[in-house]
Symmetry: C2
């Protein structure tokens, strides 16, 4: 199978390394439909873990899952002008069904605000129906014309989109913040990827939002990856879609809305942040397999060794650990080591005749490569502790790297140096679109801009006028 | 909200009753896109329970989840001629992206055999790669031109599709049977809907299959509903798609394949089989809420009653029971009783000041309406037992009804009587397509035909020639 080749590219050669790793470790494959990938089981299982965890978080917060139609009439997209302008250039249109031309073109959803809010207007009548919170897990299509890259940029991807409706502006703003905090917990806690959060500047907000809050992380090649976004929609959609409620004051009011989404794009970030020259390194909490057992087989002791491996497997599985026993006879132990290292399984147990005698096993950590001899009686305890520790260590390591690659600067030449050396710059800015655009021209590609804090008494690094904010500035994915 | 109206239609008037119930209990709503419905949280949560249970079953069986592209090039669909002929009349075609016309039309998947098997050919090389088993949960589009009905017939629905590849014909046949058994367990065990399984006759098999096995159930209006199907594909797809493997004999062989799917259609079946004149009745295992607590409130005792309700809730939740405390002040207890009966919540707890005094509660079962006084100390035990019992009782009741509505007959006039009175007939048949078609003309709508057992010594009810099988015969959905 295609993943049975190792990778030859080094991580310092990020683009080639990433592509080899994604394909050969079996995360994804290219499909015959340009821009659409296959999410193979190795990546889909990680997505399942994320869904499970995020579902628990949103359900505890009163959000219910639902499912809305894939196809959206063109007239719906047109109802909010900015939204239409932002999305139509990349919409895939259904124009025929069977042999018949449709009366109105139908868009494959690039996002679901319009179709959902048409329904919300029907369902929501009174303040008693609010807050109203729904979420859907689904496929999304945006016809990218730029070069595509598995997970990071494609025409079809999977995501969740949460949509909430509130009686007051403040409540909606609090909700938009809540989603960002939930994303931060998910991404840092489960994926061990450290993030920065903040508002986007005007130029980069969601088409139709009052403002957008973002969760981003810096990738090893010095580009920022937007992981999830939460939009304060204000009444921008409730007005054209007539999402109104009868207040306690017996009057009709337009509702306040938010929407927030996180996509499979993060799977690319996860791979880039943690991987090394041998392949992927998966955080224990989301690894489809947390521990692989590789028996060291010799003819005379084969049966006993396999039997012992199975006992170990059962013992660990009873504690909820996801274990794979790789007892395939056609492959050598060395080949198996490489195979599971490539795929990024957190822990490996090696077990041969000598270990049988000593009543111990060899435990190897994927992230550090450290080998330890562990007594059988201490196995379960040690494995549980190592899984925990590896999760923490991976986050700490990534956080340390991120901190080292973030520089605060007020000088244009330092900004340039930071961008060239692949760092995230934090700089004072006036938040004026014209100034932002001029600065952007200096750097190839669209920048990632995240607003950190308000400031006074500083000068904008771009135009010399008074700065409004500290802004994170980096090239973006 | 729209579900806050009760239903007025009686179940004996099935079509009107079903439509009112689906809409007013909040299972689904019509969308502005004809033929696509909104899966509202109340139905989607049931689907989530089904996904959870079926995922456990398929994973234990070695099937891995993955995700394949939504869009399929027209040329792919054409590779298997029967398959193309069967599906293209109801395909939605993407012909434009942004402002550009596409070179080749892309079909929104009506099923994924073709796009998957193109990839399988790439991934599978040796017998060591087999058996190969993947499944995907996704949306599917089939442009129905007949009248649509929520869940039962629509243009977009949700399903799972499992696809497996094997070295031998026997192994593939066993796998196709396995899927049917898994569906039967799921539908009977979780949804309490009794089913019949068997092969479809030639006229009704999947376009491209060697044969199709089906899981069906009889609805209260006397029509059979096809719930899930499993297809033995033989080498019909492996040949055009070149899904080959190097055998132990060092020679290349075409692989043997199966595919099997179960869709959200079953949600319609679930509602029809169990519902009554008051609304839905949900089996405890899949009910999004298993027990609702309705406090009986009077001004003087309000606080104590609510506090006690919360204690009861916490106690039951600790045992894993899904509980809702409906303490909304704006609605009366009677209104709440009706509301949750309409939605089909299995158990209701009523708790007022008198119950506080007696240290008891009133427990009401949705299916029987029976009210019991339960001592607080026995509450948890009683609730757990009632949930179990209700699940069993619901299945037994539905099974009893099904048995009463199934008649074995060898006489044409009895068949006609059975169909008219809404029963499933089991009859001897020659399995000749011509004969089947002639018989079909006698009854309105396409029939559901499920092959039960081989027979000898009987005469075909249609043509008088020797019969080959006992066949289940009913009108179909």
């Amino acid at each position: 199978m295609s993943e049975e080749l190792g990778i030859t590219a080094k991580k310092e050669n990020m683009s080639e390394w990433y592509q080899q790793l994604v394909l050969r470790a079996g995360f994804a494959d290219y499909s015959p439909v340009k821009g659409s990938i296959i999410y193979r089981p190795w990546s889909y299982a990680i997505w399942e873990k994320m869904m499970e965890s995020f579902n628990a978080a949103i359900k505890a917060h009163g959000v219910e899952n639902a499912y809305f139609p894939l196809l959206i009439p063109e007239s719906f997209l047109k109802k909010e002008a900015e939204h239409f302008a932002g999305f139509t250039p990349e919409v895939a249109w259904v124009t025929m069904a069977g042999e018949n031309k449709l009366d109105e073109r139908l868009a494959i959803r690039p996002t679901s605000e319009t179709i959902m809010y048409y329904m919300f207007a029907k369902w929501i009548q009174s303040y008693r129906d609010l807050p109203f919170k729904v979420n859907q897990w689904c496929n999304i299509m945006r016809w990218e014309t730029k070069m595509t890259k598995p997970f990071l940029r494609g025409r079809e991807f999977l995501w969740q989109e949460g949509h909430t409706v509130h009686t007051t502006k403040t409540e909606a703003e609090t909700e938009a913040e809540w989603a960002i905090e939930a994303y931060k917990k998910l991404v840092e806690g489960l994926l061990a990827v450290p993030v920065v959060t903040g508002k986007k500047t005007e130029s980069d907000k969601f088409a139709g939002a009052v403002y957008t809050i973002t969760v981003e992380s810096l990738m090893p090649d010095g580009r920022a990856l937007q992981i999830g976004t939460s939009h304060m929609l204000g009444q921008n959609f409730s007005k054209p879609f007539e999402v109104k409620f009868l207040g306690k004051d017996e009057k009709n009011h337009y509702a306040w809305q938010t929407s927030w989404g996180l996509s499979t794009r993060i799977l690319g970030g996860l791979i880039m942040v943690h991987g090394d020259d041998k392949g992927a390194v998966l955080p224990p909490k989301v690894a489809p397999i947390q521990l692989v057992i590789v028996p060291i087989l010799f003819k005379e002791t084969e049966k006993q060794v396999i039997a012992e491996c199975e006992r170990v497997k059962t013992k660990l599985e009873k504690k909820g650990i996801r274990v794979k026993l790789d007892d395939r006879p056609d492959y050598s132990a060395g080949w198996k080591f490489n195979h599971w290292e490539l795929k990024g399984v957190p822990l490996r147990v090696e077990l041969g005749p000598k270990d049988l005698e000593k009543k111990s096993i060899v435990l190897v950590r994927r992230d550090t490569g450290v080998k330890t001899n562990v007594k059988q009686v201490e196995l379960v305890k040690t494995v549980l502790a190592e899984l925990d520790k590896m999760q923490t260590d991976m986050f700490e390591k990534a956080k340390g790297w991120l901190d080292k690659h973030t520089v605060k600067t007020e000088k244009a030449e330092e900004l340039e140096a930071a961008i060239i050396s692949g760092k995230w710059a934090i700089l004072p800015h006036c938040a004026n679109i014209g100034c932002e655009e001029k600065m952007t021209e200096k750097f190839a590609g669209g920048p990632s801009l995240v607003i950190d804090k308000k400031i006074t008494g500083k000068i904008c690094i771009g135009c010399g006028k008074p700065a409004k904010y500290w802004i994170y500035w980096a090239k973006s994915y």
